[in-house]
């Protein structure tokens, strides 16, 4: 009888351990994940969902002198470069890995400094359980860069995607033209 009870405790320990591993895997899979696909000219980038969770900005491509500045957990952002004449296409995909329909208001706007330059999208998004929803928009740099900015000057703007209370930032750095 004591041997049986002893084995029972061992089995229960193993069951708890396996359940713990299962929770780690299932909890990691379940949730709402958002990915941004960016295309400009011949290049395309994918901003994976984990970029937002990083405590440092993610560059595309990584600069030679890379000294990441720390940011808060969940406030990670993406920095990319573009040319003045580029049209940048964005595709925002929301992957709902929950057992219920996910609904949120999506607002996409362009900011320069602390000022809103334009609003691109403001609409509700509804994604059924274990399905994906997406929104697409295009930013034309020629329309966005003010005429007062000389071609030799660089210019930055930020695309802010608000999904309910959650905010995602993509900083677009427009390269200055180099005269030959």
């Amino acid at each position: 009888m004591p041997t049986k009870r002893k084995n029972l405790y061992l089995y229960l320990t193993i069951v708890c351990f396996v359940a713990l591993l299962a929770i780690f895997i299932v909890d990691g899979y379940l949730g709402v994940y958002d990915t941004v696909y960016i295309t400009t000219g011949e290049q395309s980038w994918t901003v994976e969902a984990d970029v937002w969770q990083r405590q440092y900005p993610t560059y595309a491509p990584v600069p030679i002198e890379y000294a990441p500045m720390p940011v808060e957990v969940g406030k990670g952002f993406y920095i990319m470069s573009a040319n003045r004449e580029d049209k940048i296409s964005f595709r925002y995909e929301v992957d709902n890995r929950l057992f219920s329909t996910y609904k949120a208001d999506i607002e996409v706007s362009v900011w320069h400094g602390q000022q809103k330059v334009g609003e691109l999208i403001a609409q509700p998004l509804s994604v059924s359980a274990f399905d994906k929803g997406q929104l697409e928009w295009t930013v034309d740099n020629t329309e966005l860069v003010p005429g007062s900015i000389l071609p030799e000057q660089s210019y930055n703007y930020t695309v802010i995607i608000k999904r309910g209370e959650i905010e995602r930032k993509i900083v677009v750095s427009i390269n200055p033209l180099v005269s030959k």
């Binding site: 004591p2 009870r5 002893k6 405790y9 061992l10 229960l12 320990t13 708890c16 351990f17 359940a19 713990l20 929770i23 780690f24 299932v26 909890d27 990691g28 379940l30 949730g31 969770q53 957990v73």
Partner: protein, 57 residues
């Protein structure tokens, strides 16, 4: 004696490594996931303790 010290040191390093990785992972877990993981961890160590108690340790 020396080998036991080395074994102990190795086991401690393994436990510290697993603890660190688990801690990093737990940061990104949902609240309900954290609660379940905590309960299962308590249960696991509790049953392990009972097992060793039955062994006569």
């Amino acid at each position: 004696m020396r080998q036991w010290v080395l074994y102990g040191f190795g086991i401690l390093l393994c436990l510290a490594g697993i603890g660190f990785l688990a801690g990093e992972y737990v940061k990104y877990m949902s609240e309900i996931g954290k609660l379940l993981a905590l309960l299962l961890t308590v249960g696991m160590f509790g049953f392990l303790g009972k097992y060793f108690q039955e062994l006569g340790w």
